[in-house]
Symmetry: C2
Subunit: 725 residues, 2 copies
C-alpha cells in the first residue's frame, strides 16, 4: 500500500469527523441576523427539511399523478402563457390544477427547493475521474440552488441531499423513493418523461446513485462499436469505461449498479421516455441492457418505434412496459430560437415559433399521448384498478431549452406538459385522484421591459399580438442548436469579455450556459390531499403529501417495518450451483450478505460494503437473487450461516445449512427446504427476519453516527488505495 495515500486518507477521514463536528454544533447566525432555519445537520436527515411536518392531516387518494415541469418556475409559466394564449390567457392544464373550484379539494402555494452539498455536486460521495471516492470535505454545505437530481431526491424520498445525488443522502445512503414505497404498499406505478429515462427526474423513481450521470455500467456510452471491429462487445464496453459512475456502485465491483440497471430492479409497471441508446450498454456478462430487460419480462419498445408504443395494451409486474422512443432526449415541440444581444430588428420583427417536424407528437407520441397511455395501462392493471396507482410525468426539456436560452423550445415543452395535464384531467376523477403540478427548480428566463443592451434576449410575438421580451441573465454566449435541439459547440462556460483565461470553466454536459435559479416556486394540486400544498412548504414536504395521500410508509420507522416479513432461502440449481433468494425486504433498496462457516467462524463470502451503494440491489417487492461464489460447494459435515441484512431497514435474516446431505431436508430452519421448483432449483435453507433484530447480525451495517462515518471515510480510502495499486 502506498504510504502517501494512507496519510492522505487518514487526513480525509479526520476532516470528515471535524466537518461533522461543526455540523452538529448549535445553529449560528453567520451574518449576525436572526437565524431561525435549521442547520445542515438537521436538514440532511430524512424529513429534516419539512416545513409542515405533522401540521396537517391528509385526505386519502386512490391515485396520485405528479407532473414535474423541469425548470418550470413562475417566470417560465408566465412566458408560456403569454405566448401561447395571451397575457390574460389560461394554460388549461397548469392553471387549472390548484384553482379553487377545479376539484372538491384544491391547494396552491410556494415551495423552497434548496439542496445540500456544493454546486459542483461534491459531497462525501464525490469521486475522481477514475470513479473512486475522493472523500471531499464539502458535503453538508447548504446550497441555495438545486439541480434536478437533488431536487428530485427531495420530492421522491423526503430527504435533502447534494446536487448530483439520486436518492442517496449526503453520505451516500440510499433513501427509499415513491415508486419503491408505492409498490411496497400494493400500488401500480408509472414513470413518464420526455428526457432520457436515466436523466435526474425519472432516475429518482428508479435508482439510487451517487452520481446522476451513471446512466449505465459504461456511464453515457451509447453502445456503439468503439474499437471499430464490427461488433459491440465487452471490448467496446471496456474502451467506453465506467463513465461517470462511482466505481464501487457498479455491479462488476460488487455495487448496486447503474441507473438503467436499477430501473429494471425497481420494475415500475410503466416506464416511458427517451434514452434508448443507453440500453445498448453491456452488463458484466456482455449482454445488452435491452437483453436484460427482455429476459426479465419487460415489454420493450425502442427508439423510433411509435407503432410499438401505440400497440401497448397491458402493463403489470409480469409484463412491465419499457418504452424508450428516442435515443436521447425526445425532440422538442417547437424549433429552437436563438437568444442574441440587442437589435432593433428583434422588436420590429418579433419571433414566432415554428413547429418541429421531428416532434413525436406529430406521430401520436406527445407527452399527452404518453400520459394517456400510462393512465390507461395503470387503470387496466389489476392493482391499479383495485388499489390505485402512482404516476410521475415530467416535461423535461423546459429546463433543457431554458439552459440553451431557447425561448421557443421552453415554451413548446411547457405547452406539451400543459396538454399532458389536460389529458390527465380528461381521464381521471378528481374525487379519488390527486394531481400535483410543480417544478423541480426555477430557471433563468425573465420577462423584462425591453431588450437589455448586453444580455441575451428574444422578443416573441404573443398570441394576443403583444410582445414578450425574454432575457437570459447568466451568460452572454448565444447558444446555437442542432436539429435535435442539442447545443452546438457550446460545452464551455464562456468567460466575460474582460475575464482572464484561467477563469474558463467547463460546463457539465450538453447543456447551454443558463443557470437554474433558487427562488421559491409554485406548487399546485387538485384532488384528495391537495390542500397540503397550501402556503409555504419545502420540496421534501411533497414526498409526505404524496406518501400520506396514498398511505405509504413515510417515516423511517414505518419504512424499516416494511422489511419485517423478509425471508431468505438458500438454493441450489440443477447444476448444483448455490445462490440465495431474498423476499420481503420491502423497506430496503440494498442488501448485504455474509456466508460463514459456523465452526471456524471463517467468512466464506460476503458482499462488498465499501460504500453505501455497494451490495445487492433489491428487486423491489420482487425476489432478489444473491449469487454465491461459482465455486462454492458446502463441505460435507460443515455447517454454514448465511446472513442477509437490509441496509436501510437494519433487518437481518440468518439461515443455517449443513454441508452434508445438502439436498435433503435435514437442516434446522423453517421453509420449504428440499422443495424443487419448475426450474429445477432446490431449496436448501430458509429463514425469516428475527424480531427484535439482534444487534451486530449480518454484514456490517453502515451507521449514520459520526464515528461510523469517519470509519467509512477511512474505509473508502483503503478502497481508493487498493484501486490505485
Amino acid at each position: 500500500m502506498n504510504m502517501k495515500k494512507v496519510t492522505k486518507c487518514a487526513i480525509a477521514a479526520l476532516t470528515s469527523v471535524a466537518a461533522l463536528g461543526a455540523l452538529a454544533a448549535p445553529a449560528f447566525a453567520a451574518n449576525g441576523y436572526d437565524l431561525n432555519g435549521k442547520g445542515v445537520d438537521a436538514l440532511s436527515v430524512h424529513g429534516g427539511a419539512q416545513r409542515i411536518a405533522g401540521v396537517y392531516g391528509n385526505t386519502k387518494a386512490k391515485n396520485v399523478i405528479l407532473f414535474i415541469g423541469d425548470g418550470m418556475g413562475d417566470s417560465e409559466i408566465t412566458v408560456a402563457r403569454n405566448y401561447l394564449h395571451g397575457v390574460n390567457g389560461t394554460l388549461k392544464g397548469i392553471d387549472t390544477i390548484g384553482q379553487a373550484g377545479s376539484a372538491p379539494e384544491t391547494g396552491v402555494g410556494q415551495y423552497t427547493t434548496f439542496s445540500l452539498g456544493n454546486n459542483s455536486g461534491d459531497s462525501l460521495m464525490a469521486k475522481d475521474k477514475n470513479g473512486n471516492l475522493t472523500g471531499n470535505k464539502t458535503a453538508g454545505v447548504i446550497t441555495p440552488v438545486t439541480d434536478s437530481s437533488a431536487s428530485g431526491s427531495g420530492w421522491s424520498t423526503g430527504t435533502k441531499t447534494y446536487n448530483n445525488a439520486v436518492d442517496v443522502d449526503v453520505k451516500g445512503n440510499p433513501q427509499l423513493n415513491l415508486i419503491e414505497l408505492a409498490k411496497a404498499a400494493g400500488y401500480a406505478t408509472g414513470n413518464v418523461t420526455t428526457s432520457e429515462i436515466q436523466d435526474a427526474t425519472p432516475a429518482v423513481l428508479e435508482s439510487h446513485s451517487t452520481e446522476r450521470a451513471c446512466y449505465g455500467p459504461q456511464g453515457k456510452w451509447d453502445g456503439s462499436d468503439k474499437n471499430g471491429d464490427g461488433k459491440v462487445d465487452l471490448e467496446d464496453a471496456k474502451l467506453a469505461g465506467i463513465g461517470s459512475c462511482l466505481a464501487n456502485q457498479l455491479k462488476a465491483n460488487g455495487g448496486i449498479g447503474s441507473i438503467s440497471e436499477q430501473l429494471l430492479d425497481t420494475r415500475a409497471d410503466v416506464t416511458i421516455g427517451g434514452g434508448s441508446k443507453y440500453f445498448n450498454q453491456l452488463d458484466q456478462n456482455g449482454k445488452t441492457l435491452w437483453d436484460d430487460a427482455a429476459a426479465r419480462g419487460f415489454q420493450t419498445v425502442k427508439s423510433g418505434d411509435v407503432e410499438g408504443f401505440k400497440a401497448l395494451k397491458e402493463a403489470n409486474q409480469d409484463k412491465p412496459v419499457l418504452a424508450l422512443l428516442g435515443d436521447g432526449n425526445l425532440p422538442t415541440k417547437f424549433n429552437p430560437s436563438v437568444a442574441t444581444k440587442y437589435s432593433e430588428d428583434k422588436d420590429n420583427n418579433p419571433t414566432v415559433c415554428t413547429p418541429n417536424d421531428k416532434w413525436l407528437g406529430n406521430k401520436g407520441a406527445s407527452l399527452a399521448d404518453f400520459t394517456n397511455k400510462a393512465i390507461e395501462l395503470l387503470q387496466n392493471n389489476k392493482k391499479g384498478a383495485e388499489k390505485g396507482y402512482f404516476l410521475q410525468v415530467e416535461g423535461a426539456s423546459i429546463d433543457k431549452q431554458d439552459h440553451n436560452a431557447n425561448a421557443c423550445g421552453q415554451i413548446g415543452e411547457t405547452d406539451d406538459l400543459d396538454q399532458a395535464i389536460q389529458a390527465a384531467l380528461a381521464k381521471v376523477d378528481l374525487n379519488n385522484t390527486l394531481i400535483i403540478v410543480t417544478a423541480d427548480h426555477a430557471h433563468t428566463s425573465q420577462i423584462v421591459e425591453a431588450q437589455p443592451y448586453y444580455a441575451l434576449s428574444t422578443v416573441l410575438r404573443n398570441a394576443d399580438g403583444s410582445k414578450t421580451t425574454i432575457s437570459y441573465g447568466t451568460s452572454d454566449s448565444p447558444v446555437y442548436q442542432d436539429e435535435e435541439g442539442n447545443p452546438i459547440d457550446n460545452d464551455e462556460y464562456k468567460q466575460g469579455e474582460n475575464g482572464d483565461a484561467d477563469t474558463d470553466k467547463k460546463f457539465d454536459g450538453a447543456q447551454g450556459n443558463m443557470s437554474h435559479t433558487g427562488t421559491q416556486l409554485r406548487i399546485a394540486a387538485s384532488g384528495p390531499g391537495a390542500s397540503r400544498v397550501d402556503g409555504l412548504t419545502d420540496q421534501t414536504d411533497n414526498f409526505y403529501t404524496i406518501a400520506n395521500a396514498l398511505g405509504l410508509a413515510s417515516d423511517t420507522d414505518a419504512q424499516k417495518a416494511l422489511s419485517n416479513d423478509a425471508k431468505v432461502e438458500v438454493k441450489k440449481d440443477k447444476d448444483g450451483k448455490y445462490f440465495a433468494e431474498a423476499t420481503g425486504f420491502n423497506g430496503d433498496a440494498v442488501l448485504s450478505y455474509k456466508l460463514t462457516d459456523k465452526a471456524s467462524g471463517k467468512v466464506v463470502d460476503q458482499s462488498n460494503s465499501s460504500t453505501p451503494v455497494s451490495g445487492v440491489r433489491v428487486a423491489t417487492t420482487q425476489t432478489t437473487t444473491i449469487a454465491l461464489p461459482a465455486d462454492f460447494t458446502p463441505a460435507e459435515g460443515a455447517n454454514y450461516t448465511f446472513t442477509v441484512n437490509g441496509n436501510q431497514s437494519g433487518k437481518a435474516v440468518a439461515v443455517d445449512f449443513a454441508g452434508a446431505k445438502a439436498s435433503s431436508n435435514e437442516n434446522p430452519n423453517k421453509g420449504d427446504n428440499g422443495k424443487t421448483d419448475e426450474k429445477g432449483n432446490q431449496t436448501v435453507a430458509g429463514g425469516e427476519v428475527k424480531k427484535p433484530v439482534a444487534p451486530n447480525t449480518g454484514a456490517a451495517v453502515l451507521g449514520t453516527v459520526m464515528l461510523a462515518l469517519a470509519l467509512v471515510a477511512a474505509g473508502l480510502c483503503i478502497k481508493f488505495a487498493k484501486a490505485r495499486r
Copy 2:
C-alpha cells in the same frame, strides 16, 4: 391658428379612431397559437382583466390591511429569507400570511401583473415635454411588464391601465380607488409607505393622474429658491415649471391638480411616508402645499420630526394625519452593497450587510412603527372602531434597491416589511381583519448557482452560513449609491460594450438600471375573504377581493349609484362673491360644471373639459367647493342655471337662481336657500341629483365610445395648438 398644427391634429384624431377600431376587432392569435385570453379592448374596461370575476363569494371583513412589497417577487422573498433567517428559515410576517392555520381563513396563489400601453408609459394620454398631449397612438398595447403605477391602479381600482397611469384608464378617465370607495362606505382609511408619498404605490390611493411624476404643481421641484433671491415664491415655481405634469391636469389650467394636491382632497385619515420636500411647492395662490394642508385641518409632521410622529394621538376627518418623515424616500435599513462582475474574492469573502445609521427605525420610525401607529390611530378613530378601516402599507424600496442591484438594500427593506406585517399580526384579530401580502410586480434579482462571468452579482453570507449568489440580469453597469441610497452618476442606460452610441437611452429618474419583470408572483392572505386569492388571479382581482370583503361599491353601476344623493348649493360669501358647494358625489372623482343664462342660453362660465383630468377634483366624501368667476354678479332680472355633473357617475344636478333679489329665498329650488352659515356664506340655490338623469344635462360628459374619444383627441389637439401659439 397654425394650419400645420391643425392638419397634424386631424391626423392624430383619425389615428385614434383607427386604433380603437382595431381594438374592437375580434380576438386574433397573432402567432397562430391558441389565443384564449382577452384582447386589449376587453381588458381595458373596469374589471375587464379579472380572472375570477363572480366565481367566488367573499366573507365579510371589518378591516383590511394590504401590504405591498414593491418589486417583491418570489425571488426577492427567497433572497431575503435565505440571508436573514437561513434557506430553511421563515419570514415570520410574509411567510405567515396565507399559511394554512395562520387564521380561520387563509389563501395563497399567484397573480398576473401585466399592464396596457407600451413600456415608456405612452398612451392616448402621453404628453410632450411642455406637458401637452401628443395623441400617441400606441395606447392599448398589452404590456407584459408593468410599472408600479399601472400595477397600483390595477389593485386599487380594478382597471388595467398603461404604465405611468395613476388611477386613470388607458383613455385617461379617472377610476375610483379603494380609499375613495372605503370612505364612501363609511370606513376609516390609511396609507403608509417608506417612499415619497407621491410615488406610484401610495399615489394610487390618493389621486388620479395621467403621469406618475406629477408630484406637485411644479412636478418634482423640491420647493427651493430657484432664482436665488432669498425667498421661495411663485417666481421660483415658474422657473421650476410644471415638471412632468400634463398641463391640463394642473389646477392653474382648470385641472384636478397634482398628486400632492389631490392627496389633500382624498383626505385619508392617516397618511405616513416620505416626500416632505414636495409639499414645499406652491399652489396657484403662492401658498405652499404644507400651508394648504394645515389650512384644511391636517395634522402635519415634516421631514425629520420623529418626535412629532410619535406624539400623534388621533386621526380622523376633522384632523387627518399627514406625516412625511423624510424629504424624499426614507433611508434604507441596510447600507448598500454594490453588485459587480465576477471576482473570486466575492466567493471567498461573502458580503455581510451592515446597518444604516440613518435608518429611521433607529429612532423608532421603522415601517413597523408606522404600521403600529397607523393601526392604533385607525382603531381609535370612531369610524374605524365602529365600521372598520382600510389600510395600505408599502415596503417601497425593495423595488428601488433592486433597481440599483443593491442586494443588501432590498433585503433590509424586505425585512422592514416583514417586521411591519409581524407588528400588524400582533395588533389585529384575524377573525375580523383581512391581511393581504403581495407585490406590485417582480424584479431582476435572481439566485444563481455561481457568479456569472459577465453579469453583475453579489455573493452574500446567509444566516445559516451558506452563500446566496444574486445575479442582476438586465444591466452590466454597476450602481454606486450615495448615503441616502440614491444612485450616483447613473442616470443613463449604459450601452453594451459593442453598442453604437445612438443606442444610448436615458433612464427614468433616480433609479438604477435593473428592470421589473413580468412573472406571475405570490399573493397571500389571512382573515375573512382570504381564500379569494387562492389559485391564479390577476392583480385587478385584488381590488374586488378587498372591495367585496369590505362591501365597497366595486362594479361601475354600484359606483355610479354612490352619487345618487348628490347635492349642489350656490352660495355667496359675505363679500358677495359667488361659489358653489357640491356634496354627495361619492361615486365621482371629478366634477364638471356649467353656468348658463337661462334666457339667452349663453354660457357664463364652465369648467375645462379638454381632458378627462380637467375639471374640479372631488373632496372625497367631503364638501367640494367650486369657484365661480371672481367678477360674476347675477344681473337683476336674469335667471341662471348652474349644473354640476359627476364625470364618473354621469349624475347631474342643476340649480336655477335668479339674478334679482338673490339674497332672498324666492328661487324655485329646494334647499336651505337664504340661510347664512357661521362664516357668513349665504345659500342662494340648492338642488339634488335628478333620477333618472336626463341625457345631455350639465357639462359635456366624456363618453367612452369611440366617437367621443375621437372628439376628445381632436379637442386635445386644439388645446395643443393653443398652447403652442
